[in-house]
């Protein structure tokens, strides 16, 4: 228990924890001391002097935002002296303020307005000249109006303390003090929007919504972000049919009010003019034509039924995006399994997350994290492997930064990035120990870690006696391997040692590990690592895979993959099947379903006749060499539920307009297994419908009614069927490691693939293509949706190949030049830019613009999990042209769906 202190505020006694600030103590008894510079997230700076209070026995007024309570302290917040002090600070601020409230977007939610109103100043004594700044702006997305600035430095402090970006500074002195970014070009930062949100006045605002609203005109919907698996709570502010802006609120949600560029500036795809608004059907002329739901649904149901009758249910397959709600995902698999009768179904969790989910289930009996974000913040060692955390999972990135910067955690990184000071934060700059791992080599690095556990004598003695066979066989397998070539052996051993020595440690793994050959084995090997250290079952310890899409965890748990029933439970598990059959009053098929790549093969072979694809675009997601398009073209029937006419939708016979998350009710399950509400901010755009509703109607027409009044009814069923959803608390409850499962793994389970897990793997193929190219997430884009968001396109509107400046210099390449990349499967020409964080010899390309590379990657499916690996490749680089077109401004309007 924390030590408590009793103080008296305005005559009221209150007991608070030692170390509490007076301003917070006051807030707890409902006394709101006016303040500008104070923010609970930031270290006190006490610069605005607005929060002055009287403290008995202190001669001067004290700033309540920086004064810590002390036993017996007597504070007065409402004496004439205090009142007068508050008024005087307002008077000083208002002296130079332009009083342009009528045209300020902050008007109506501005602290300066509110406090001025509270202290009702009547006219100012200030009759001299106001200071006026020249009109300035930060970037096409962020407006600054320094005349309104109260110099509280919250923006500067946020950008430094929370973001670790340090893009803003206060420059000049006295009344000319001004918030600036590095000069000479527009603001170049992470565009988290934090400065916009934390500014107490209208000095920093979003240009995306400028002059579009008065706060009281907007409707607000508390919902969950649809981009990544971090699961941020956000507020959609809408007016009529349009999302005007996105906000978050301090202290709220897993993100505690922080957001990233995608969350804050990436909402406009919802209102993109290319959204599908009516069903489309391919007609005799070979083109897609608009029809009504009433026209399309019966015909479609009929077609599906016909195919099922003619070729059997196994001739029909389904694929769904893990960006859909749990309700969509659940109903999708139920529809496939019961209404159609097929186990051939998959979701985009197949692109990597299943590798982790399978490993976790196998060893610890649960696919879920055994830790939460709080455990990340409280850990004293964090090990990041292939996460690119700031780009792919920015809010988890903030938790890592908080652990390191605020609590002094030791950060250990096995990442492709290397430390370098740039305009955006770089998590490896905070590393205590960093091992630079080239693309595709993370699996080898993980094997090196396990070897190091033995070489450094870190193995738990209790485990050795309890599971001697396991330990000695892993030892034999892991230590037989040499340390991976090209990786820093000493550093790798030091990482293992530092991690083993921690009080609480969390391993975070991401796409660079999970979406590369050996992804599944690596996840199991890391669980070996935790077991060997004796930590897997310790509280606060765990392996935490991060998910790229917002609901990959949900997709697995809803059973929206071939191998899993809701739970997830194995399709092959008869008992699980019987159980679900009890709830469904019908038997799901027992056959082993096909995963995505197998379905494409079957389509190509002519055994799969129809596919229902919900919200996913495999033609784009998979490389050309996967030949997804030609496979889908061979189907007798392709149905696509979508927001946009994607490459895949263009091949469809029937295209059904679906609602975006901004129009949906339901739930998402984030990376850490926390189930959160999705609430609509908008009415469905056009005639679009929620995915579950489309499937439900179809089932009715097919004579197998899966009828639900609303999404909530589906959730009710989910909660009855899936144990992890029974209790939906306000806070995540980390899962427990199942002792039985660990026991089973330690005695037998580990052995089944031991040689495969500890073999050197296919060494990087020696060929003439010497560059290692990685395709991955960037800060500003995720998937294809983000490329329809105007705000994000302003930040990044094309894919540029990123290389190390030293490499570029060697090749005589300047920013904006174009290079030809050649791989064994093809070639592509792309513009280049430079970043010091990309190590020499390595190249990076943003995944959201992968069509530019379409011909380049080859694809290797994982032999066990069917995950298609196509994100790391080897290429040659030749310069083909200089500068020009590519580096110009983004096109004024973005053509969608093409």
């Amino acid at each position: 228990m924390a030590e408590m202190v009793t103080i008296l505020i305005d005559g009221k006694p209150i007991e608070v924890e030692k170390g509490t600030l007076v301003i917070e103590a006051a807030r707890r008894i409902g006394v709101m001391i006016p303040h500008f510079c104070y923010h609970p997230k930031l270290k006190p700076d006490a610069n605005c002097r607005m929060c002055l209070v009287e403290v008995e026995k202190m001669p001067k007024l004290q700033t309540s935002c920086s004064t810590v309570v002390a036993e017996g302290m007597v504070v007065r917040t409402n004496t004439p002296v205090v009142d007068e002090a508050h008024k005087s600070v307002l008077e000083f601020i208002l002296a130079n303020h332009p009083l342009d409230c009528p045209i300020c977007d902050q008007g109506g939610r501005c602290d300066l307005q509110d406090f001025s109103h509270r202290y009702t100043p009547t006219g100012s004594q200030f009759t001299d000249t106001k200071r006026v700044y020249e009109k300035g702006f930060f970037s096409p997305l962020i407006e600054k109006e320094m005349n309104r600035c109260v110099s509280c430095l919250r923006c500067v402090r946020y950008c430094d303390e929370i973001m670790d970006v340090k893009a803003l500074a206060n420059a000049a002195r006295s009344t000319m003090t001004e918030i600036v970014h590095f000069a000479g070009h527009p603001l170049d930062c992470e565009f988290c929007g934090g400065c916009v949100q934390i500014c107490p006045v209208g000095a920093i605002t979003s240009r995306l919504s400028m002059y579009e609203f008065r706060p009281w005109m907007m409707k607000r919907a508390d919902t969950t972000c649809g981009y990544c698996g971090d699961g941020c709570s956000l507020i959609l502010e809408t007016r009529g049919e349009k999302v005007i802006e996105v906000m978050s609120s301090h202290g709220n949600g897993r993100n505690n009010g922080d957001l990233c560029a995608k969350g804050f500036f990436g909402y406009q795809y919802v209102n993109h003019e290319d959204r599908l608004t009516t069903p489309l059907v391919r007609q005799a002329d070979g083109n897609l034509h608009p029809v009504t739901w009433d026209e399309v649904l019966p015909v479609l149901a009929e077609r599906l039924t016909q195919i099922k009758l003619a070729h059997g249910a196994d001739a029909i397959g389904g694929l769904i995006s893990a960006r859909c709600t749990n309700e969509d995902l659940y109903l999708f698999q139920k529809f496939m399994r019961l209404a159609i009768g097929s186990n051939h179904l998959d979701s985009t969790a197949r692109y990597g997350h299943v590798n982790a989910a399978r490993a976790l289930r196998r060893v610890q009996g649960t696919n879920r994290w055994t830790v939460s974000y709080e455990d990340i913040v409280q850990a004293d060692a964090l090990l990041l492997i292939g996460t690119q955390v700031t780009a792919a999972n920015p809010i988890v990135g903030l938790k890592v930064k908080e652990a390191v910067k605020k609590h002094g955690a030791t950060l250990l990184t096995l990442e492709t990035l290397v430390p370098s000071i740039e305009t955006t934060s770089n998590i490896t700059n905070l590393s205590a120990l960093h091992v630079a791992v080239p693309p595709g080599r993370h699996a080898a690095a993980v094997r090196g870690l396990v070897k190091a556990a033995f070489d450094e004598n870190l193995v738990d003695a209790a485990l050795s006696s309890r599971a001697g066979d396991y330990v000695s066989r892993i030892r034999a397998a892991a230590t037989a391997l040499p340390y991976p070539e090209g990786l820093d052996e000493a550093a790798l051993r030091a990482v293992a040692k530092a991690f083993a020595g921690a009080r609480r440690g969390v391993i975070l793994i991401g796409q660079d590990l999970l979406q590369a050959p050996g992804g599944h084995e690596s996840a199991v090997n890391l669980l070996d690592f935790l077991l060997l250290l004796g930590k897997l079952t310790q509280p606060g310890w765990g392996l935490a895979p991060l998910t790229e899409e917002n609901n990959e965890q949900g997709a697995v748990e809803m059973g929206a993959t071939a191998e899993y029933l809701p739970g997830p439970a194995d399709v092959g598990d008869a008992a699980a099947r019987t159980q679900i059959a009890g709830a469904w009053k019908d038997q799901p098929p027992a056959s082993q379903g096909m995963h995505l790549l197998e379905m494409l093969d079957a389509a190509r072979a002519g055994t799969l006749k129809a596919m229902l694809i919900v919200g996913e675009n495999p033609v784009r997601s998979l490389p050309l060499s996967a030949k997804a398009a030609s496979a889908l073209e061979k189907l007798d029937l392709l149905v696509v539920q979508e927001l946009f006419l994607t490459e895949t939708a263009k091949l469809a016979d029937v295209v059904l307009p679906a609602c975006s998350y901004a129009e949906k009710t339901g739930t998402f399950t984030n990376s850490e297994g926390f189930v959160q509400k999705v609430r609509p901010g908008l009415e469905p755009v056009g005639d679009s419908r929620p995915d579950w509703e489309i499937l439900s109607s179809l089932s009715v027409m097919m004579g197998y009614p899966l009828e639900y009044g609303d999404a909530k009814e589906i959730l009710k069923e989910i909660r009855a069927v899936i144990p992890g959803y029974r209790v939906l608390g306000a806070k995540p409850e980390p899962a427990q490691v199942a002792a039985k499962s660990v026991e089973q793994y330690l005695t037998r389970g580990f052995a089944e693939d031991l040689p495969a897990r500890y073999s050197a793997g296919a060494a990087p193929k020696a060929n003439s293509h010497r560059w290692a190219l990685a395709v991955g997430q960037t800060l500003f884009h995720s998937g294809a949706m983000s490329t329809k968001a105007q705000g994000l396109l302003e930040l990044q509107h094309e894919g540029k190949l990123i290389m190390n400046p030293a490499d570029a210099q060697r090749l005589g390449i300047a920013d904006g030049d174009r290079v030809r990349l050649t791989s064994t499967s093809g070639e592509a020409t792309v513009p280049v830019t430079m970043l010091g964080r990309i190590p020499e010899g390595t190249l990076f390309f943003p995944e959201s613009f992968r069509e530019a590379l379409a011909g380049l990657p080859s694809m290797t499916p994982d032999p066990v999990t069917g995950v298609p690996y196509c994100k790391q490749l080897r290429v040659s680089v030749d310069k083909v042209g200089t500068g020009g077109a590519s580096s110009g401004p983004p096109p004024a309007r973005i053509a969608g769906g093409k």
């Binding site: 001067k60 005087s88 008077e91 001299d128 006295s174």
Partner: protein
């Protein structure tokens, strides 16, 4: 007046004294260090300085030995000693001379101080404009390293100290100790909120002592001749030792003069600095740098020590005495000072940031014949709203010229307003020039 012994300016007043190590050693330099290292326990040095009654010469006059004793004894990890050589207070120019002309005196003081508080890394934060001073110090440090007074194993005693010169980048506020620390850490020099104090959370959040150049230059003398001896100089017990006063303004012989504390303003202005230039009557004077309130001819017999000047309503501050003769426009003098303070307000806290320019605008208006009687009440009110409500002491400093001129020369303000012109000038006031932004 009685002649007195020079301490700090002694060496440099010898003809031909160059400030080189050889000269300094010849004059008895580094004997104190030899007396101390390995022979006197560090804690005893601190005690000795406490007993000597030495108080800080940077402005606030905090007892130096007491400051040293605040450094936690058993703190693991580094701790720092910083010499504050940012001297930017208008009318103050003693540190500059002490550094340029006798650098080793201060360096020896720093080494002893570092020894006393267990410091192994120390910095001299020198005002950016002091190019010569920085060069002289660099040269002196090189000599000291060469001679084994600095480095890994000083004088074979195992005590190690590294000393660095760090040049400031041109801001008055960086003389304020916490802003100095920020600047030294490579950040924008803005004062920190206190607590925590530098003694526990200083440079890089480590225990730190910040001392003025002159303060440190006294240390070898105390060691050489004993705490009792030092405590007998000046006006003990509260104001022992000498001070180097910087005489400027309308006196015949402006310059630095070292005198024991306790001499009167009359002595220093009329005897030591040669009296009023042109023999005009004295109108007013600033006793301790621009941050100190004006004093009047009636204060001429006030003693130059911490207590007496404080009692007279001002402060001994940095030791900069600026003298003004009859005929000087006090509104213009206040405006001139405010011009400086407005230019140098770091902009961190509201009352000082917004107040300084508001005050300046009013003063300028009054001086330019556009004042209103209500302005006087506004000036008073604004000063009251700044006093004691800012992050650092700058706020109190910037209002001192206004409150004191309003106290003593209210009639002059009123005359400006009544006549809508400056009664002292036939020409418009010259524009005050700012260097940089």
């Amino acid at each position: 007046m009685a002649t007195h012994e020079l301490l700090l300016l002694k060496n440099m007043s010898q003809p031909g004294y160059s400030g080189s190590l050889a000269d300094y050693e010849r004059a008895g330099g580094y004997q104190a260090l030899k007396k101390v290292l390995g022979k006197i326990p560090p804690g005893d040095i601190t005690e000795m300085v406490k007993k000597s009654g030495l108080r800080g010469r940077g402005g606030a006059g905090f007892p130096t030995g007491v400051k040293w004793s605040f450094i936690p004894k058993d703190h693991p990890g580094p701790r720092y000693l910083i010499c504050n050589a940012d001297e930017s207070e208008p009318g103050t120019f003693k540190d500059r001379q002490l550094m340029e002309r006798d650098p080793h005196q201060m360096i020896e003081g720093m080494i002893i101080a570092a020894y006393a508080i267990g410091v192994r890394t120390s910095y001299i934060y020198i005002r950016g404009e002091f190019v010569l001073g920085a060069r002289v110090l660099e040269r002196a440090l090189a000599e000291a390293y060469q001679a084994g007074y600095l480095g890994k194993d000083i004088l074979g005693t195992g005590f190690a100290l590294d000393l660095y010169v760090h040049r400031g980048a041109g801001a008055y506020i960086c003389g304020e100790e916490t802003a100095l620390l920020e600047s030294l850490e490579g950040k924008r020099g803005l004062p920190r909120i206190k607590p925590p104090f530098p003694a526990t959370h200083g440079l890089f959040q480590k225990p730190t002592v910040v001392n003025n150049v002159e303060t440190l230059a006294n240390v070898p003398h105390i060691v050489n001749r004993g705490a009792e001896w030092f405590a007998s100089i000046g006006n003990p017990p509260k104001s022992s030792g000498t001070r180097v006063f910087c005489m400027s303004g309308h006196v015949k012989r402006p310059g630095n003069y070292e005198v024991p504390m306790g001499v009167t303003f009359r002595e220093i202005i009329y005897d030591i600095a040669g009296g009023m230039r042109g023999d005009k009557p004295l109108k007013a004077f600033i006793p301790g740098g621009a941050s100190a309130a004006f004093l009047m001819p009636e204060h001429l017999d006030v003693k130059l020590d911490f207590e007496s000047v404080a009692q007279a309503g001002s402060m001994l501050g940095s030791g900069g005495i600026t003298v003004m003769e009859e005929g000087t426009c006090m509104v213009w003098a206040a405006e001139n000072l405010l011009h400086f303070f407005n230019h140098e307000s770091c902009g961190k806290c509201t009352p000082c940031r917004e107040g300084s320019s508001w005050l300046l605008q009013i003063l300028r208006r009054i001086d330019h014949g556009k004042g209103k009687m209500e302005d006087l009440a506004t000036l008073t009110r604004l000063c009251g709203n700044i006093a004691g409500r800012t992050v650092c002491a700058f706020g109190d400093a910037e209002i001192a010229p206004i409150t004191s001129t309003l106290q003593y020369f209210r009639d002059e303000y009123e005359a400006h307003i009544r006549e809508q012109r400056c009664p002292f000038r036939s020409q418009p006031a010259p524009e005050l020039i700012s260097v940089g932004r």
